[in-house]
Subunit: 250 residues, 2 copies
DNA sequence: CGGTGAGTTGAGACGCATCAACCCCAGTGG
DNA sequence: CCACTGGGGTTGATGCGTCTCAACTCACCG
């Protein structure tokens, strides 16, 4: 089942087994790509969307000096460019970070789904809005946090998302990123990322070695990052990570 | 027609007159609110969405020190929290900047639309993805631009969006924002916003006085901001503002 | 006429960028 | 087998951009 991880455990949007079947049948092709490959360019019309099965992918915007800003990072189970279905043309590039396996879904089959299965269509819509919620958390990260806070916030997010995909045990996970990549995510230079990593290491919060993240103290890391996982719309509460979901509202 | 401005002139998503009629009939209520009012709180379930008719609204995330990061700013014609329809619960707050007039659309009526009018549903979906594209441009702004570039980029964006809504002549428009608000948008302190404004004024690019923006030199402002309006998905080309839409692709 | 919120300006501190070395290690080819 | 190469990571010195704190103006309003 290629669609196994898609929307798994998401609050109010988990797929029924029939819906999963329908989506599975909408896949036209499964492909693999090498690391650091650009799969879709800005301004180029797309007629299919990409479900990520394995590996890590990115979406990024280039500035005129050849520098990049990552606007999203995707883990297995994410529908990377489902938003290309209504938009048709993208405002950013889509690429691989690691080697990946992806499933392609032609937009014509998504037409059929929106016509015949409005409830499944609503869940696909939900999926793209979850990406938008993550965008907003990234805006908060860049606008309100200092360098250490940004990296800490990013690690907390990836820990939760990878754990939901069954790819983190809540403390350790592989990312396939370099320190330079972290810089393009957090709006910092590679050199400063390095100093941030040292500080996080010396403070006993987490270590990053050869693209492997190990979180030593999840609570302090989350506090340093002002991280609250509610925006990820995960159904079950997460051990060790405080969430306003578990506290009374207002 | 309350829905008159919604998706007007958007590439590949303009409404037909029948669709506009359907949406118009989905409105249950038209209300007004005063400036600086919070209309929806984080974590609170919503059963209607809000179409902005007149005024400026914001979406923002609070940090634990009482500081805010704005994640979106809405102009007349925007469906401010349409994403609350699939999501049900928001990850941020929704509030007014100026006095506003809004139209409320119950989610039950959106259910009917997605069941009966898949093409209109796709356009509603498009609308929420346009907001996500704007989120991404804001990420680029915060991650890659310096203080002057951020403010310049924001002004360029608002100029284009307000012009598309018929509320800017391409040079002058009202925003209803203070310098402190600009700080919460651009991730800067009010004091520094003030210095940035002085620099933009002395460089002859634009002036900001009593929440009124006047752009003296649109080309230089756009260049300073690395601004390309393609991400706003406006159908017609914009006089005076360079766009890669008008250049050959790659 | 005192109060309040927005805007303005200056001085000093601090966080991050920049520039420049240097190390380590995995490939690669002679 | 070893020299070479290049990418990723590490560290130091220095400079600049933005923050912080503080004072002051001005317009508006009770």
């Amino acid at each position: 089942m290629f669609t196994e991880r898609f929307l798994r455990d998401k609050r109010g949007a988990a797929l029924t087994s029939e819906e999963r079947e329908i989506l599975e049948n909408a896949i036209s092709e499964v492909k693999t790509f090498g690391p650091r490959t650009t799969l879709a360019f800005t301004g180029e019309p797309l007629n299919h969307s990409t479900l990520l099965i394995e590996g890590i992918m990115s979406r990024h915007i280039d500035d005129r000096n050849g520098l990049r800003q990552l606007v999203a990072l995707h883990v297995p189970g994410d529908f990377v460019d489902l938003h290309a279905y209504p938009l048709k043309i993208l405002d950013h590039e889509v690429g691989t970070m690691t080697a990946v396996t992806v499933a392609l879904v032609p937009h014509t089959r998504l037409d059929a789904i929106t016509r015949e299965y409005p409830e499944l269509a609503r869940k696909l819509w939900f999926s793209t809005l979850l990406d938008a919620a993550i965008h907003r958390a990234w805006l908060f990260r860049l606008g309100r946090l200092d360098a250490v806070g940004r990296v800490a916030h990013f690690f907390c997010e990836m820990n939760v998302r990878l754990a939901a995909a069954g790819l983190s045990d809540g403390r350790r996970f592989a990312l396939g990123l370099t320190q330079a990549d972290l810089g393009e995510i957090c709006g910092l230079t590679p050199v400063h990322i390095n100093r941030v990593m040292r500080q996080l290491r010396e403070d006993g919060m987490c270590v990053f070695r050869s693209s492997l993240v190990e979180i030593m103290d999840p609570e302090r890391l989350a506090a340093r990052a002002q991280f609250d996982p509610d925006y990820l719309y995960i159904a079950k509460p997460l051990p060790g990570i405080p969430s306003s979901q578990t506290r009374p509202i207002r």
